[in-house]
Amino acid sequence: MAESKAIVKLIEALSHLPGVGPKSARRMTYFLLERDREGARDISVAITEAIEKVGHCQQCNNLTEYDICEICSSKSRDSKKLCIVETPAELQSIEQASIFRGLYFVLMGHLSPLDGIGPEELGIDKLEVLLDNGEVDEVVLATNLTVEGEATAHYISELVRKKGILATRIAHGVPVGGELEYIDRNTLTEAFTGRRQM
């Protein structure tokens, strides 16, 4: 007997999840339908709600339910320091380590000419607007320590320097090729405290 259309559709949908192939997607599908229908309903509601409510912060690009995210609108953050990261997940790692009290800007990627991703695609013009507001006195470049992350950091540092603002780069305690999301808290703390002028 062929699988029902709805089941096939769910398997396909679950295969969109990172690290989930068709086999595990099928296992998940049958688990949810046989043994945890309530859990399945919760997942479906949560996904719908997140898709409807979560967008990008108008100031920093981070994922948020508001026009301006909670970090950007917080009065207790140091608005003189701006940390540049590649992804929201990396921002989250830095937040969880409580090592930075300033504001962020999320590039949603890095310079990658072979993928057609240049400064415009990373929203560098939006970053410039933020810098031209005049409050920021240090930009901390916390892009990954990959070749593309370095190229991105250098590009932004030139832009920042032109505006007379200090550009610093997180220290190389992070292994070459390191993506911040996967770095432990101690290493990340060292990388931030040991940051250097570019």
């Binding site: 072979l114 070749v147 590009y155 090729g177």
Partner: protein, 241 residues
């Protein structure tokens, strides 16, 4: 290619480009000495302390092993072949440019062992801070390698290039004296043609003429689609000035 198990052990290779495939895996576009360009999936390398992950960087001479039956091979081992070429920001953008040229102009699975050696040497020179000259010569070798002759020592009538004359360069054919015809083609001096033939590019004016010529020839080959890395390279240069 499909069906047959293909295996390579400790093959000299460079990473041209990489993109995320899943949460922990990436797909590498590599340039290898004996197999040319190909795509390889590297599994489980985005985790913390992944040794392979820190080795798999662009501009790093690598020894890669892979296996697989399908078009997309699976990486089985990776180690650095020698020290990484330390690229200054400026040379890094040049590196992206030559990588994009290779990805755009070489077909997958076509071996180009001589060009591979030349590529490695080009990266080395870029890391030593030589840029313009090195880029022009790499462009020339790449065009020759894909079977597109760059004719520099004689004109289309098979006469030797005269150092004191002006020429048009007709793509696919070669130089023709400007006094003989009137063409809507890039102009170049005999002096520059000969200098490029002898790879003697120390003169600033010569280098500028060669740059303009190579730009036209490369554009022909790319079929009009722009090079993103060239735009980025120029953006960076004007920013850092």
């Amino acid at each position: 290619m499909s069906g047959l198990l293909m295996r390579a052990e400790k093959e000299n290779a460079f990473i041209l480009h990489q993109r995320a495939y899943s949460e922990t895996s990436i797909i590498l576009d590599i340039f290898s000495e004996n197999f040319g360009r190909l795509s390889i999936i590297a599994k489980g390398i985005k985790k913390q302390n992944s040794k392979k992950g820190s080795v798999l960087q662009q501009f790093q001479p690598l020894l890669l092993s892979w296996a697989g039956k399908s078009e997309l091979k699976t990486l089985t081992a990776a180690e650095p072949d020698s020290d990484m070429f330390v690229m200054s920001p400026g040379s890094m953008y040049c590196g992206f440019y030559i990588n994009e040229l290779i990805v755009r102009l070489l077909h997958q699975h076509d071996p180009h062992p001589e060009l591979f050696i030349y590529y490695k040497d080009t990266l080395k020179q870029l890391s030593q801070g030589i840029t313009e000259k090195v880029l022009r010569l790499f462009e020339k070798y790449l065009l020759i390698e894909i079977g597109y002759g760059v004719i520099l020592d004689h004109d289309i009538n098979n006469n030797k290039i005269n150092e004191d004359k002006e020429y048009y360069y007709v793509p696919e054919s070669g130089p023709v004296k400007t006094e003989e015809v009137n063409l809507e083609k890039p102009k170049i001096s005999g002096k520059s043609l000969l200098a490029f033939a002898h790879e003697n590019l120390d003169d600033k004016d010569v280098l500028a003429e060669i740059k303009a010529l190579m730009r036209v020839l490369i554009r022909e080959q790319l079929g009009g689609k722009p090079l993103h890395s060239r735009k980025l390279m120029n953006n960076y240069i004007s920013l850092s000035r």
